[in-house]
Amino acid sequence: MANTYLRQTPLAHLHLDARAANEAADATTGVHIGERLLLGMINLRGQRSNPDFGPAVKKVVGAALPDVNKTSGKPEGVHVLGLGPDEWLIITPTGEEADIHANLEKVVGEFHTAVTLTGESMTVIRLAGAHARDTLAKGCPVDMHPRVFGPGQCAQTILARADMTMHQTADDAYDIIVRRSFAEYVWTWLEDAAREYGVRVITGLR
């Protein structure tokens, strides 16, 4: 019998839906934590020194190419993270990545580029609430004080010795992008770090 591919999130085995149903958040909850389900991701390499490259990408993606450690687009829709001087991560709602990937390949093919689908290897953990920043700061060497790090900024760094890309999506909300194989470790670390602030699981994040 042919095996059908069951697409699961990297944290599916933790049964977070059941936990969220049993543990309701209240006024004392300082941190809300959840997994954003099956977002699409495209890693884009290219030379911005070519003035036509940025506009060509924008035409397909709908968001401009941001500088390093900056982002563009809305976190709920297609958005782009600046990973390096010639590297970006395009994050899309579930299922939209294939079309964008195909169109990007067509449009940017004439430039010196690489376009790679990477969503299956990553997951996104959303951390929100009044103490989200305190929780992250326990294991992250980046200065997250609001005077230097705010909404719309991102950073590739370490969280509790695991590589992560952090994107601050609002004043008190962060998307933590980690490798699939690190997802459970980072999740349990975050839950433990957030325990003193009161932590509740949220589900259904897209």
Binding site: N69, E87, P141, A155
Partner: protein, 99 residues
């Protein structure tokens, strides 16, 4: 812990970086014409200088780019940071004895 100013990401903690040895070491153009001693010197021997030292670093857990750092080995002070492929800034060359 050093704070290293990555030319792309700005100041980040040392734990995000990895040191890659002495900078500006060029592979000899014609290795066959070299003596074993010269070849060994190219492969294995590096300066062990007290003072400003030019070395390569990579922002391994950040933007993953290589760059050059001029660091004082006596004080650990980072004197300058400059991108791959460029020469050390003029302001520090008097403090460095290039090979």
């Amino acid at each position: 812990m050093l704070l290293i100013p990555c030319p792309y990401c700005g100041e980040r903690e040392e734990s995000e970086f990895h040191q890659g040895g002495e900078a500006h070491i060029e592979r000899p153009k014609d290795p066959n014409k070299m003596t074993d001693e010269e070849w060994a010197d190219y492969l294995f021997f590096r300066d062990n200088r007290k003072g400003v030292y030019l070395e390569r670093w990579v922002h391994r857990h950040g933007c993953r780019r290589w760059f050059n750092v001029a660091r004082d080995t006596a004080t650990n002070q980072i004197v300058a940071v400059y991108k791959m492929g460029s020469k050390p800034p003029k302001s520090i060359t008097s403090r460095v004895t290039m090979k």
